[in-house]
């Protein structure tokens, strides 16, 4: 739809719903208006505002890869008012989507490098976009390693995709659950993500590390990467802060003078270290 109204969402039809973990769902969304689809493009790392009419908007990343055309996907946990309403919807329902907003993972700069993805819990979705983007351009990168952990086996999201990555000879996947979160047939690691990372002792040479997870995981992961010799500009993360607009006006998401919605959400550890502790 031709509009000058930056607040007017695209109408999206829920094409597919999958339940990825308790309270966690993934929607595959298709543009209702073919013109919108034709004009839309995004890059990995970007986010959007998803809305249920009558309830409101909620901010999350685009969890699918831009290499997969014709749809976008989002994964969310039923937690607040909007995600609860979203979670009640089914295939065929219409929701609103505004975006894409924010900056991107600089994957062009990562050509010829090893990639180490480190994710925890519900933070795999933003990373899933960049993982698939890189896997779809597999020849551009050297070794790809994914370390993913969750509280328990049930809380691991995208289980079928984890299996797919596990079976690929060109991906090394390490999964872990927090102590006590394992089941009797669990064959992965047991331990917190930073502990397992420490055990893995990844080589920093020619390697980019991408870290997404709850603040506590991130806090303990950075020092281990540092210990392994990763320079701050070789480590990336994506920040989440409460937002309403997504384009630098509503005044919520800034960390000091840095706007997560415009300057982020993707930041290198070098940038992060220059920002105040306000996220």
């Amino acid at each position: 739809m031709e509009t000058q109204n930056i607040y007017l969402p695209y109408l999206m039809q829920i094409d597919k719903v999958s339940e990825d973990a308790p309270f966690v769902k993934t929607f595959r969304l298709k543009f209702i208006n073919p013109e919108d689809e034709a004009n839309f493009s995004f890059q990995t790392g970007q986010f959007g505002e998803y809305s249920v009419a009558g309830v409101g908007e909620s901010t999350f990343c685009i969890a699918s890869s831009p290499t997969r055309k014709g749809y976008i996907e989002c994964t969310f946990r039923k937690a607040g008012r909007v995600t609860t309403a979203l979670s009640d919807l089914e295939e065929g329902n219409t929701i609103g989507f505004r975006g894409p907003y924010g900056n991107v993972f600089p994957i062009d700069e990562w050509k010829g490098k090893n990639l180490l993805f480190i994710a925890g819990g519900i933070a795999l979705p933003p990373m899933r976009s960049v993982i698939w983007n890189c896997l779809d351009l597999r020849e551009n990168f050297k070794d790809i390693t994914i370390l993913y952990g969750a509280k328990s086996v049930a809380d691991l999201v995208y289980k079928h995709e984890l299996r797919e990555w596990d079976e690929r000879p060109d991906v090394k996947l390490v999964t872990t659950v927090d102590p006590g979160g394992e089941t009797h047939d669990w064959t992965g690691e047991v331990g917190f993500v930073p502990t397992i990372l420490d055990k893995m002792a990844p080589k920093a040479e020619n390697t980019i590390a991408i870290v997404c997870g709850p603040p506590i995981m991130i806090k303990y992961t950075f020092p281990i990467l540092e210990k392994c010799g990763f320079a701050d500009e070789m480590v990336y993360t994506t920040l989440e802060n409460r937002m309403k607009c997504g384009f630098g006006k509503c005044g919520r998401c800034n960390v000091g003078k840095t706007y997560v919605c415009k300057d982020g959400p993707v930041f290198s550890l070098k940038q992060l270290k220059q920002m105040p502790d306000e996220y």
């Binding site: 930056i6 109408l11 309403k244 919520r252």
Partner: protein
């Protein structure tokens, strides 16, 4: 700058004609004990008995609640009715103090940062601002500390300065102002050469916002300082609501049955829920951090990112504050500490 003269009788004629030509005329009106900007239907509703109005003039371009679009739900289908830009009226805003007029620069810098908020810009484009110089001020006023002055033309399309005989000096500031004067050229007469400066209120420049900017970044990590600054703050958000430059907003849905609209409404960084995550995590969890955000945004982030100042020295926040926090005093304390 071109000057003209507008007699008090011609001023009455001008306003009456504008109302007659279906302009939305918004002016300071006394309502109960408060003076605020309201739509008027007759010249007699206007008052000039104010230093500043309680709320700022920003409502004309950035109303407290703005319907962004309408929607309707039927079974699984959702339809949206886009914002009707044609519904935005041609407006004339009367009696705007120079501080308020200057405030539109700050607002515009936010609403036009990369992505243009056409709702805001169209409202402002369709508004002609007739400023009114200040012939009195009070202890809360500090425009001269914030790059303004009681007779500043910045932000106005036309600036009026009232003379002792009740007539007005007219300064034509913008093309929009010139057009309005041309449209009613018979009402404006030749400038009599009166001395504008002598008619203006005197506002002492007790500090400079540049000195606040020079100092405030180094105070960011000083938690004790911000805790002390915000000791009295009850986080009511009144300061943001009356502020001519505060633009922070919330987006909410209002629904009646299957129909409704998405609404943009004023919000405030001083409110405790402003940055609260659904997880319970809050990046600005105490009032000191929230007060720091308010001052940093106005005196550091906006100059740094948008090349403008987020405060015009109108003093409204200080007048409205229920616990008597005075922003000028807080600025001076930043400079001194």
């Amino acid at each position: 700058m071109e000057r003209k003269l507008l007699t008090k009788d011609s001023y009455r004629s001008l306003i009456t004609k504008l109302i007659g030509q279906n302009y939305q005329v918004v002016a300071p009106v006394k309502k109960d004990t408060m003076i605020d900007f309201l739509k008027i239907s007759s010249f007699d509703e206007i008052t000039e008995d104010y230093i500043v109005t309680v709320s700022s003039a920003k409502t004309v371009a950035f109303p407290r609640n703005e319907k962004l679009f309408d929607y309707e739900k039927q079974n699984k289908k959702l339809t949206q009715q886009d914002y009707d830009f044609d519904s935005i009226p041609q407006s004339v805003l009367i009696g705007v103090r120079p501080c308020d007029a200057f405030g539109f620069h700050s607002l515009s810098s936010i609403f036009c940062w990369d992505s243009i908020d056409k709702i805001y810009t169209t409202r402002l484009e369709r508004t002609t601002i007739i400023g009114l110089s200040c012939n009195k001020a009070d202890d809360y006023c500090f425009c001269t500390s914030a790059k303004g002055s009681p007779g500043s033309t910045a932000g106005s399309d036309i600036l009026l300065t009232k003379m002792t005989d009740g007539n007005y000096i007219v300064e034509i500031v913008t093309e929009k102002g010139a057009k309005l004067v041309a449209d009613f050229s018979d009402l404006f007469t030749a400038d009599g050469g009166a001395d504008k400066e002598s008619l203006l209120a005197k506002v002492a420049a007790n500090f400079s916002v540049d000195d606040v900017l020079a100092k405030i970044n180094s105070k960011f990590e000083d938690e004790a300082f911000w805790t002390e600054q915000a000791m009295r703050c009850i986080g009511c958000g009144a300061c943001a609501y009356v502020c001519p430059t505060c633009a922070c907003f919330d987006i909410q849905d209002e629904s009646h049955g299957g129909k409704g609209h998405r609404v943009r409404c004023w919000d405030s960084c001083g409110l405790s829920l402003f940055t609260l995550h659904t997880s319970g995590h809050n990046p600005r969890e105490n009032q000191g951090q929230r007060w720091r955000q308010r001052l940093m945004h106005k005196f550091s982030y906006m100059p740094d990112r948008l090349n403008t100042i987020g405060c015009v020295g109108c003093g409204r926040c200080s007048r409205a504050c229920p616990v008597d926090m005075n922003i000028a005093e807080h600025c001076m304390s930043i400079i001194e500490n």
